[in-house]
């Protein structure tokens, strides 16, 4: 279509008149004053990436890694034996690979090359999982001696009744299986309705999403019993699923779209009693984790500036934890309780127009205090933490 088309001319003129409606009441000095009052004029922390460019930042970081690794080897403190020392706390999944890093973000070791995302530690900190370049889940022992891969569209770690870590996976074809990473055994869970969404697991139960329905399979003796329907939701898509620490309740986030709409948070007891919708202002990008006591759910709310909040699992009372303004950022993602329930983790970043999406990982206490930055990743990767 030629842009000297008469319609385009009319449209341009109409848009011009429309845009001119917004009155220019502004005084430039007042705009800048307001930025200062809102605390927006402080400069961000200067990091290597800002000064010398990201490519050089990575090179410098590699040098720092080698120096740190050499120091660790020299002192004999390098991770080497099973269970004899705690694992390096940070796992980072980036375009460069799946890596271990110290609590300060210094990379110590690359476990897998190639793009990886969603790094997660097993509950016993022995294993690290991540989604590899081909979409399969890679499971690695933290000391690097054992490696497994499994086809999975969604998965969850659990400790089985014997205290061994398992990975419960949902495959692309809707089947569910349990992987024992130590022995490599894969055990199928019979499901009548193919699983389509999130999956959650405790020692005694596995729950999963099949369309608008939530199913659970419970342990009977040494095995998991057949699946049964827990509830059917009224929303189009179930985005997140989480079993309470006791395994008695299941919570979920559901929405009617994946983008610009609000999601709702609901809970039901696994016997089907006490269904309740707790909150209707959840960000569709929210993660969902229970606090260690099983009393509240940690979410990202969308009722104003992005904010992390705890929602009471009984009455839906909202307790704010922290909002985006504290971080001097525009976006918050993936608030969650740490694997051992000792801290809240959240990642902050700039608005979407900036690329790559540089994130900072923070830890804070349940009351929003004790805020501490754990790491900065300028490659746009995912950050996983233990404990």
């Amino acid at each position: 279509m030629r842009e000297d088309d008469r319609f385009v001319g009319q449209l341009r003129e109409a848009l011009d008149r429309y845009a001119a409606r917004v009155p220019d009441r502004s005084d430039p000095a007042e705009i800048v004053d307001r930025l200062e009052r809102d605390g927006m004029l402080r400069r961000p922390r200067v990091d290597v990436g800002a000064r010398v460019g990201q490519r050089w930042a990575r090179r410098l970081r590699i040098v720092a890694v080698l120096a740190a690794a050499a120091a660790l080897i020299a002192t004999g403190a390098f991770i080497g034996s099973r269970r004899s020392s705690p694992p390096t706390p940070l796992a980072i999944g980036t375009e460069g690979g799946l890596m271990l890093a110290t609590g300060d973000g210094v990379i110590v070791r690359t476990l897998e090359a190639g793009a990886h995302r969603d790094p997660r530690w097993s509950p016993d900190d022995r294993w690290l999982s991540g989604i590899g370049p081909d979409g399969s889940v890679v499971v690695l022992e933290a000391n690097g001696t054992t490696r497994r891969t499994v086809n999975a569209a969604a998965y969850a770690w659990r400790m089985d009744p014997s205290g061994a870590p398992n990975l419960v996976v949902r495959r692309d074809d809707g089947t569910i299986a349990v992987l024992d990473p130590e022995h490599g055994d894969v055990r199928e869970i019979p499901v009548e309705t193919p699983a389509t969404g999130a999956i959650a697991a405790t020692a005694d139960r596995i729950a999963w999403v099949a369309g608008p329905e939530i199913y659970v399979a419970e342990r009977t003796g040494a095995a998991l019993g057949p699946a049964r329907l827990v509830t059917r939701t009224t929303r189009t898509t179930i985005l997140q699923l989480a079993l309470s620490p006791s395994g008695d309740d299941v919570a979920w986030i559901a929405a009617d779209c994946l983008g610009t709409c609000l999601a709702s948070l609901s809970v039901i007891t696994l016997d089907g009693s006490a269904p309740r919708t707790l909150d209707g202002s959840i960000d569709t990008r929210s993660t969902l984790t229970w606090d260690p006591s099983g009393s509240t759910l940690l979410v990202l709310r969308d009722a104003g500036p992005p904010a992390v909040a705890m929602v009471d699992a009984d009455d839906g009372k909202v307790t704010p934890v922290v909002d985006v303004a504290v971080f001097g950022a525009e976006v918050l993602v993936r608030p969650r309780w740490s694997a051992h329930g000792t801290a809240i983790l959240v990642e902050s970043g700039p608005s979407d127009i900036d690329a790559p999406f540089s994130k900072e990982l923070w830890r804070l206490d349940a009351d929003g205090g004790g805020l501490r930055r754990l790491a900065t990743d300028t490659s746009g990767g995912d950050l996983g933490v233990t404990p």
Binding site: A14, Y18, A19, S351
Partner: protein
């Protein structure tokens, strides 16, 4: 490509990026209205447009140093404003509102048949996705070329052109029926 900058703007940008508040205020004076007009088309709400541009200036303060000398400052600023406007809409989840407005008359001697009425345009804009309004604003209010728009929306230039062509077809259809 010739990059147009106002006389002395390069120096202003350098000083503002270094933290010179007076230089930054001068940049606000030069570019605020352009950003406001773009944000108005994206948000369709004057108050939200002002909020979006205020937020955009906060981004600009932090990220001015990332604007390359070969890049148009105005195109960068209006793109930031458009993106902040889109994010404000996402955060506030605006519902379409039927607003009653007095139908404007054109200046003396104008033939109404030659103009798209503001009421019709408003109704059509309300029905568009914010991303489409952003495309309209960057193309027709900020006068950015497809290549510049592509850079800010992380699309290819041909992708921008084809999206714009489909959007114009849709607008022609809806405004003809209005």
């Amino acid at each position: 490509m010739t990059v147009e900058r106002l006389p002395g703007e390069h120096d202003l940008v350098a000083r503002a990026a270094a933290g010179d508040r007076d230089a930054f205020t001068r940049l606000v004076a030069l570019h605020h209205v352009s950003m406001l007009r773009v944000a108005m088309v994206v948000t369709t709400d004057p108050d939200l447009a002002e909020d979006a541009v205020q937020a955009a200036w906060a981004v600009a303060w932090r990220r001015l140093r990332s604007v390359r000398a070969t890049e148009s400052l105005q195109s960068w600023l209006v793109a930031v404003a458009a993106n902040e406007a889109r994010m404000i809409l996402r955060a506030r989840r605006r519902r379409p509102v039927v607003r009653l407005r007095q139908i404007e008359g054109g200046p003396q001697g104008d033939d109404p048949a030659d103009r798209i009425s503001q009421l019709d345009l408003e109704r059509v804009l309300d029905r568009l996705d914010p991303a489409d309004r952003m495309l309209l604003a960057l193309r027709f209010i900020a006068d950015l070329e497809s290549a510049e728009i592509a850079k800010h929306l992380e699309l290819s230039a041909s992708g921008v052109r084809s999206r714009l062509a489909r959007l114009l077809q849709r607008l022609r259809r809806e405004l003809d029926h209005a």
